[in-house]
Structure formats: structure tokens, C-alpha cells
């Protein structure tokens, strides 16, 4: 007699677009970026904006267990059962890129427990400019930087800045105070990123997360039409 078992479903091997029962799974969006750039605040604002229309859940990857998850719980942006903290063993970038197994567990477990979801936000632990998400974990990713760390960050580049599907430059309200030139940041980002979009946000204002939310809504529409990424060659049974 086993009293321990709680986890159901054998799970997919990787980020297959369908759940084991054949239904289309939730869109998974990764949010990465350096420490203090406003990832958790962006996640919180997105949840507040989208939660009434879409079934959402969040996975956090904390350096110390549950810090970001606890922030989201305190802010009450989602019910506690919709927020899962993944422990990363002091290596947050490993957990979203090199060994994504714990995060895949977490996103699948959320869908198993909560039923079909529209969107799962996976927030990385605060790391450096090189941390990006594996395509085996998320469908699309957002990289969040902020003006107060210096307006030369877009020029410096790095995989997050160069390749993220959306670059968010946060805390624009602070730009005059820290001497950051938003025009320079925009043109540097454009040079680095080609056609990939950039959103400037200030979360202190009303609906400050709107540019990001609009982009997420677009991704959701595309995902629901099943064209966000090619179907796997062999569908999961």
C-alpha cells in the first residue's frame, strides 16, 4: 500500500505541443533577465491583466527557494495552487537551459492538477545576460532588462538581448534620474535584434505592462491556431 503517490500522467519526453491525452497544452512563455530588472513584477502585472480572460499558471526558478513565488503569493496575483517554485541548486541558468527536467515536471504537473491551461509563465532566477531558455522548455521567451543598469546594455548584447522573442526595457520612468537615453537604447536594440520587437515599460503607471500583455495576447492567438511552432513529427500517443 503506497500512501505517497501524488503525481499522475507519464508525461511527454520534451516540449511536445500536445499533452498525453492528445489535447493541446498551454503556451509556455519564459521570462529571463538580470537580477532586479523587474521580471517578477512583470509576471505579476501580466497575471493581473490576463487572469480574468485566460487560465494562467506561473513557475518560478528561485535562487533561494520560493522567494519569487512568495512575492507572487503575497501580491495575490494568482491563487497559490497556480504558482510552483522550482529549486535550482544555486544554478538558475542550468534549470532553464542545460537540464530542464525539473521545470518540465513543474509545467506538466500544473496542467495535470489544474486541467487545461491557456498560458504558463516560466520565470527564470535572476542571472546574467547570457541566460536563455531552452526551446525544449518554452515556446517563446521574453528578456527583461531595465534602464537603471545602464543604457549601454542593449549595445553589449548577449544571447538574451539578441535572440529573445521580445526584449522588455523596464523602469523607463527612472530614465531621467539615471541619465539613460531611451532613444539610444532603442536604436542599439534594433541593431542587435533586427526585426525582433522591443517593448519599453514602466510598471509604476496604470496598465504599464500593456505593451507586453498585447504581445503575449498575440502569441496566444497564434498558439491557439496551432502555428506557433511546427507540430512534432510524431504526435505523443
Amino acid at each position: 500500500m503506497h500512501l505517497d503517490h501524488t503525481h499522475d500522467g507519464s508525461g511527454a519526453v520534451s516540449a511536445d505541443a500536445r499533452r498525453p491525452d492528445g489535447t493541446r497544452r498551454a503556451l509556455r512563455i519564459g521570462l529571463g533577465g538580470p537580477v532586479g530588472s523587474g521580471k517578477t513584477a512583470t509576471v505579476a502585472a501580466l497575471c493581473r491583466t490576463l487572469r480574468d480572460r485566460y487560465a494562467l499558471a506561473v513557475v518560478t526558478n528561485d535562487i533561494y527557494t520560493r522567494e519569487d513565488a512568495d512575492f507572487l503569493l503575497r501580491e495575490a496575483v494568482l491563487p497559490p495552487e497556480r504558482i510552483t517554485a522550482v529549486e535550482t541548486g544555486a544554478c538558475p541558468h542550468t534549470a532553464i537551459r542545460d537540464d530542464i527536467s525539473a521545470n518540465l515536471e513543474a509545467v506538466e504537473d500544473l496542467e495535470d492538477r489544474l486541467g487545461p491551461l491557456d498560458l504558463i509563465l516560466v520565470e527564470s532566477g535572476g542571472d546574467n545576460l547570457t541566460a536563455t531558455f531552452s526551446k525544449g522548455l518554452v515556446d517563446t521567451q521574453i528578456f527583461v532588462i531595465d534602464v537603471s543598469s545602464g543604457d549601454d546594455i542593449p549595445r553589449k548584447g548577449g544571447p538574451g538581448i539578441t535572440t529573445a522573442d521580445l526584449l522588455v526595457v523596464n523602469k523607463t520612468d527612472l530614465a531621467p534620474h539615471v541619465g539613460a537615453d531611451l532613444t539610444t537604447m532603442a536604436s542599439d536594440a534594433a541593431r542587435r535584434r533586427g526585426d525582433l520587437p522591443v517593448a519599453f515599460t514602466s510598471l509604476t503607471g496604470d496598465d504599464g505592462v500593456r505593451p507586453v500583455a498585447d504581445w503575449v495576447l498575440e502569441r496566444l492567438t497564434v498558439w491557439h491556431h496551432g502555428t506557433a511552432r511546427p507540430e512534432p513529427a510524431t504526435a505523443t500517443p
Binding site: 500500500m1 503506497h2 500512501l3 505517497d4
Partner: protein
């Protein structure tokens, strides 16, 4: 299925003691009786006045030991619906014997349908130079109840530990519920290191098996002070059982933790909708 073969040793020489004590408890429709109470060698078995619906037996060590080379065994069988409590009057003290051979001490406890066994002996003390292989094989029917305590003191005061291994195997029906093998003392790698015993010299377990213990019976409980000289945990096993594991600097502190664990375990049972076991 044999779980004990690795501890089978060659026959001891003539100076060693070979003894098997046996107890059998049965329920006669009204109360628990003891149709078999057979001491042997160092084991003298004394019948105590029943209390709380339990027949009671006290094991009195009639000589020191086990000594190296001894082959001691105690078999207790509790028949369907019978209730038996076995205690011991004094600690068992493993001593260096006349030979370098191990001593063995094999307990076999069998508990039938709706039967109850409390096995609550005094600690086993492993003295310097001794070498003892203890096994405890418990066979429970799926509706049996058990309270079992097992304490080991690794050396008397300021004495180094002898060589002591213990294997505790609990089967419920024919399925394993708990299987543990500990090895302490000189020859065992890193037994006093930070992953096994550290500087603690007393360790013990308390096992409570009751078919009415469900998943939510009790979340893990931390016992004692995590940074102090005595600490332990009381946890649910994968089956319907609670197990306390504790380490301490002294036998007294160890017992205090296991007593606390027993209180909590019995309280957990009492709060179940099925009522106390």
C-alpha cells in the same frame, strides 16, 4: 524469501552459548493466554500481570552477553486477536567473547490477524571489542498492529563502540514495509562521519504499525533541537506506519525523544476517524 543469509555464521565453538527462547500468545475468545513461554540460555521469561488488555512478558537476562561466538535467538508469535507486550528488565550488553567470532542475536516476531505486539526492550549496548550481528525479522499480517522500539548505545561512558550491525526487516503480508541495516564501530567506513552518526553515540527507532493509519495521519514531525545533542524525526512510511528515528549523546536523551515520538504517534492514531487502534 530470506533476508538474513548474509549474517549466517559458522557454528560456534564449545564455549559459546546457543539458545533460543520462545513465546507464543493466543486469544482464547475472551483474553490473551501464553501457551508457550520457554526461556533458554541467558533468557529467563517472566510472566507479568496483564494490563490494558495486553498479556505481558518480561525478558530477564540471566547472564551477561551476548559474548563473541554466542548464537542467541528469541521468537515471539502473537496469534490472531491476541495482544502481547514484551519488555526487558535490563539492557543487553554485547561483550568481547572468548573467541574473535561474532555473536549473533536473531529476533523473530510474528503478529497475526487483528493481533497486537508491543516490543519494548531496554537498549542494546555495544562495548569495546565486542562484535554482534543482530537481526530483527518482523512478520505482520495485514491487520496486525505493532509498536517496536530499538535502541543502540555505542560504547559505555567514554568507551569506544564495538562492531555492531543490525538488520530490521518488517514484512506486512508478503510485502516489505521497512528494511534497514545499520553498521557501527571500527571496521565500518565513515560510521562516525557526518553522513552516518557524527559524534552521536546513541541511536534508536520507534515503529508504530497500524492498518488504520492513513496518508494524512501525521506529517513529518521534527523531534528535539536540530542543533542540539539529541534530535530526530517522526515520519510516515510508505505503508500504514509511523517511524521515529533519533540520535543523541546519551541513552536518557534518546529515550526522551522516542517517548515523545510514541506519544505523538498514539495521538495521531487516536484522532483518526476509525478510532484508536
Amino acid at each position: 524469501m530470506s533476508t538474513l543469509t548474509e549474517d549466517v555464521a559458522p557454528l560456534p565453538d564449545a564455549s559459546s552459548v546457543v539458545a533460543t527462547a520462545r513465546v507464543r500468545a493466543e486469544h482464547n475468545g475472551r483474553t490473551t493466554t501464553l501457551p508457550l513461554l520457554s526461556g533458554d540460555g541467558p533468557f529467563h521469561l517472566q510472566r507479568l500481570r496483564p494490563r490494558g488488555g495486553l498479556a505481558r512478558v518480561d525478558v530477564i537476562g540471566a547472564m551477561s552477553g551476548p559474548l563473541g561466538g554466542d548464537r542467541l535467538a528469541l521468537h515471539a508469535e502473537v496469534g490472531p486477536s491476541a495482544c502481547l507486550r514484551i519488555t526487558s528488565a535490563a539492557s543487553t550488553i554485547a561483550l568481547r567473547g572468548p573467541t574473535d567470532d561474532n555473536a549473533t542475536y536473531d529476533l523473530r516476531l510474528t503478529v497475526g490477524d487483528d493481533a497486537t505486539l508491543h516490543w519494548l526492550p531496554q537498549p542494546l549496548i555495544s562495548t569495546a571489542g565486542s562484535s554482534l550481528r543482530q537481526t530483527c525479522a518482523v512478520g505482520l499480517s495485514p491487520t496486525a498492529r505493532l509498536v517496536l522500539r530499538d535502541e543502540q548505545i555505542l560504547g559505555r561512558t567514554r568507551e569506544t563502540s564495538g562492531d555492531l550491525t543490525t538488520r530490521l526487516t518488517v514484512l506486512r503480508g508478503d510485502r516489505p514495509l521497512l528494511d534497514q541495516h545499520t553498521s557501527y564501530g571500527g571496521p565500518h567506513p565513515a560510521w562516525d562521519g557526518p553522513a552516518v552518526m557524527g559524534s552521536h553515540r546513541a541511536c534508536g527507532q520507534l515503529l508504530v504499525v497500524d492498518p488504520s493509519l492513513g496518508r494524512a495521519a501525521l506529517p513529518p514531525v521534527l523531534l528535539g533541537d536540530p542543533d542540539g545533542p539529541a534530535r530526530g524525526v517522526l515520519v510516515p512510511l510508505a505503508g500504514p506506519a509511523l517511524l521515529a528515528t533519533a540520535v543523541a549523546d546519551t541513552a536518557t536523551r534518546l529515550r526522551r525523544l522516542l517517548d515523545e515520538a510514541l506519544d505523538r504517534a498514539l495521538t495521531a492514531k487516536g484522532t483518526l476517524p476509525f478510532g484508536p487502534g
